[in-house]
């Protein structure tokens, strides 16, 4: 037998942080979701590069509200990170507070974004830009809603006392998904809001 392999070390049992299957699974899920957004943005650039229409139809997008909303979403990611750090130190009260805060910020993002949608003079079917804008932000919105529900469930689990500094893989895994949703928004934001200023 190959002597180099240590066989008698104590090993963690069950879902332990980044050794858990779920951590690897969500990494693969993120890879495939990131591809989905890549293809979405590819479709945007492909169609935008060939269009003869006024692009975007309402002229350059207003940046203040979407910019603040982006900051809100990123802050929410920081809160999830802080929640995990508090769990590692078994500060249960603080970890619940951070998670609740992250959840609320997520909801605010959704509300602001819905308001942005309602202000548009066009819909999905009005013109090509509208189809792209609402489909891309709609896909992202769907991911945010899923993420907000995940954060709420994690909050519930933390408050039920399921986790402490030794077992909290679910928070790590759910948190990673949330970070992904936030990072992907940066690409969507850059494409839809910033690049029209450059192009």
């Amino acid at each position: 037998m190959a002597e180099t392999i240590p066989l008698d070390r104590p090993l963690p049992v069950g879902s332990e942080g980044r050794r858990s299957g779920g951590w690897w699974g969500v990494l693969a899920l993120i890879a495939t979701e990131a591809s989905l957004f890549t293809y979405l943005l590819f479709s945007y650039f492909y169609l935008a590069s060939q269009t003869e229409q006024h692009w975007p139809p309402e002229g350059l997008p207003e940046l203040l509200v979407p910019g603040v909303n982006t900051a809100i979403l990123l802050t929410s990611s920081v809160c999830v990170w802080a929640c995990e750090r508090c769990l590692q130190r078994s500060m249960m009260g603080w970890s619940m507070a951070w998670m609740a805060f992250a959840h609320i910020l997520g909801i605010i993002f959704v509300a602001v974004q819905l308001n942005e949608w309602s202000k548009k003079a066009y819909g999905m079917a009005s013109n090509l830009y509208g189809s792209l804008y609402f489909t891309i932000t709609g896909f992202h919105m769907l991911h945010v809603i899923v993420g907000v529900v995940i954060l709420l469930v994690l909050l519930l689990w933390i408050s039920l006392g399921y986790f402490d500094h030794r077992r909290y893989a679910a928070v790590t895994i759910g948190g990673l998904y949330w970070h992904f949703v936030d990072v992907v928004w940066l690409f969507v934001f850059t494409t839809l809001y910033l690049l029209p200023y450059v192009g």
Binding site: M1, A2, E3, I5, P6, L7, D8, R9, P10, L11, P12, V13, G14, S15, E16, R19, S20, G21, W24, G25, A28, L29, A31, T32, E33, S35, L36, T38, Y39, L40, S43, Y46, L47, Q50, T51, E52, Q53, S90, M92, M124, A125, N127, L128, S131, L132, T135, V149, V153, W157, G161, Y162, F163, D164, H165, R166, R167, A169, A170
Partner: protein, 662 residues
Amino acid sequence: MTDAAKNTSGPSLTRVPEMGSAPIGSAAERRLAELWESTPGWRGRLSTVDHKVIGIRYLVTAFIFLLMGGVEALIMRLQLARPDQTLLTPEQYNQLFTMHGITMIFLYSLPVLSGFSNYLWPLMLGSRDMAFPRLNAFSYWVFLFAGIFLYCSFPLGQAPNAGWFNYVPFSGAEYNTGPNIDVYALGMVLLGISTTVGAINFIVTLFRTRAPGMSIGRVPILVWGTLTAAVANVFAVPSVSLAFFLLWLDRQTGTHFFDTLNGGKPLLWQHLFWMFGHPWVYVVVLPAMGIVSDALPTFCRHPLVGYSAVALSTMATMLLGFGVWIHHMFATGLPPLALSFFGATSLVISIPSGVAVFAWIATIWLGRPVFNTAFLFFAGFVILFAIGGFSGVMTAAVPLDLQLNETYFIVAHLHYVLLGINVFPVVGGIYYWFPKFFGRMMNETLGKWSFWVMFVGFNLGFFPMHLLGLLGMPRRIYTYAPHMGWSTTNMITSIGSFIFAAGILIFIVNLFVSLRRGSPATANPWDAPTLEWAVPSPPPVYNFAVIPLVASRHPLWEDRIDEGGGRSSLDHGYLLMEGRETIGTTALDAIPDVILKMPEDSYAPFFLGLFNALLFVGMLLHWPDFTALMVLACCVSLAVWMWPRKALLQRVPDYDKGAAHG
């Protein structure tokens, strides 16, 4: 075990995995069997997460789809056997060739390989199950429901009818008003879910659940092939799912992605489809090539020549496969620079494919081949692969492709590739692993008959199609005039296709005869080298009584070939029997890293799959309330599934919770 018992002793959060041995019949072995056994009856059938059961289900379901697609092909060949036939109307013909393509490409060719890999991976890797057993069950159920979904409009005469690659604008709402294309669009998104979660499962399984010592350079080539396919799926499937979803939006909500009147571009469809479509070609052949790379050496009594070269060329093929999609679009008026680049990549891809071919030939050359049925299928595959590969290189050349595009030459090429590189290895693989699956040998006489009839029928049926293409016969025409000069060749092709079908029929008869009357198989009837042959045939529910310790690529051939890694230990290893457990190892070196708690059987995958499929039914039938209800049902199923469990140590055990707060 009651909760009270758990509270006092409690599963600990760390332990040294106990070593030992557990021969058949020992107390330890009986306890393992009890732990891993599913409930008998329909409850067990709906809730089982055993990768072996799921693997066989995948194989059987995919094979049924193969037969359905085959019957569709035979009906088309009857229509085309003579000029000016009126057996089918043009619309019926359109639906038949579309469903034939969808069935063979999406519902047979990958799922059948997933069946092999699901069944074999844990056995080859020395594990007790896949990394995500419940996800595995889920991916099967969604595949089954998606298959039924895609066929739901067929009996109504409203099946998809725009060809399997479904080009807009013909598949758009303007030219295709019925539900045909909506069924295809939603069905493909649904099937994409199954493919994606299946792929993720394979990837994590490979990186996490190999037996200690099975470093990345010691896994069988089938594992390399399926891994490569799985990674490709993770990156490629979103493209086609998105394309079909955008098409569905265009058709149902009036968006303009493919709508030329309002700035949309039909070529966007072709790009999104083929960015997925070409990697998919390699997805459905690389694992099959892996089957040959693993099984052929057994019958040559010689290890595969050039293991590393074959493993690397497998991945190189896929990498290049992401950069060749435009060779499906040479005739669309793209700039010559793009055509040159993609034509060149398409030619280059023959190099890694050639590496594999020469590795197989060298293995046969250096070995002492045993000419049984399985060997014949694998050797036949090498010949068909060479022919299909050669016609592929021909069509990679842009000027020639402009001539051959949309003719029967392409039909001939793709059938040589898909039947040659998928169906022949698959049937050979069944002959090879049937003893492992069912504990009985397959009949050799019937087996040789099935091979020769299939091989002759296949070449008689498909080789003349090359000529038809060169004679200018376009694909997808439902009939032709007698003076075109295609009549005799078409008749030969039709005769060949029926001979091929007879070969498949002999194979099926052999399956049933061997299931009932085949001679009993030992654990390793072929004297094969890999781990799946170390366990009894059929394997016990827990796979390995002890997790083996692996020291080489060929653990069962260490007596005769010395690979310098020492000896594997198959009877003495980790016992791991405090509940369903297996070992998790590091990604590259396979050093023990964690004791993985495996889930019990669960209904959640079945119900999540069912609600998921019904959600798509709701979308198809425009029932918003029903759809919303199904979304809710999916959420509840997911919550039940994901709820952290004490038994899996996903949460802190109760007995020492107080200590954590102190």
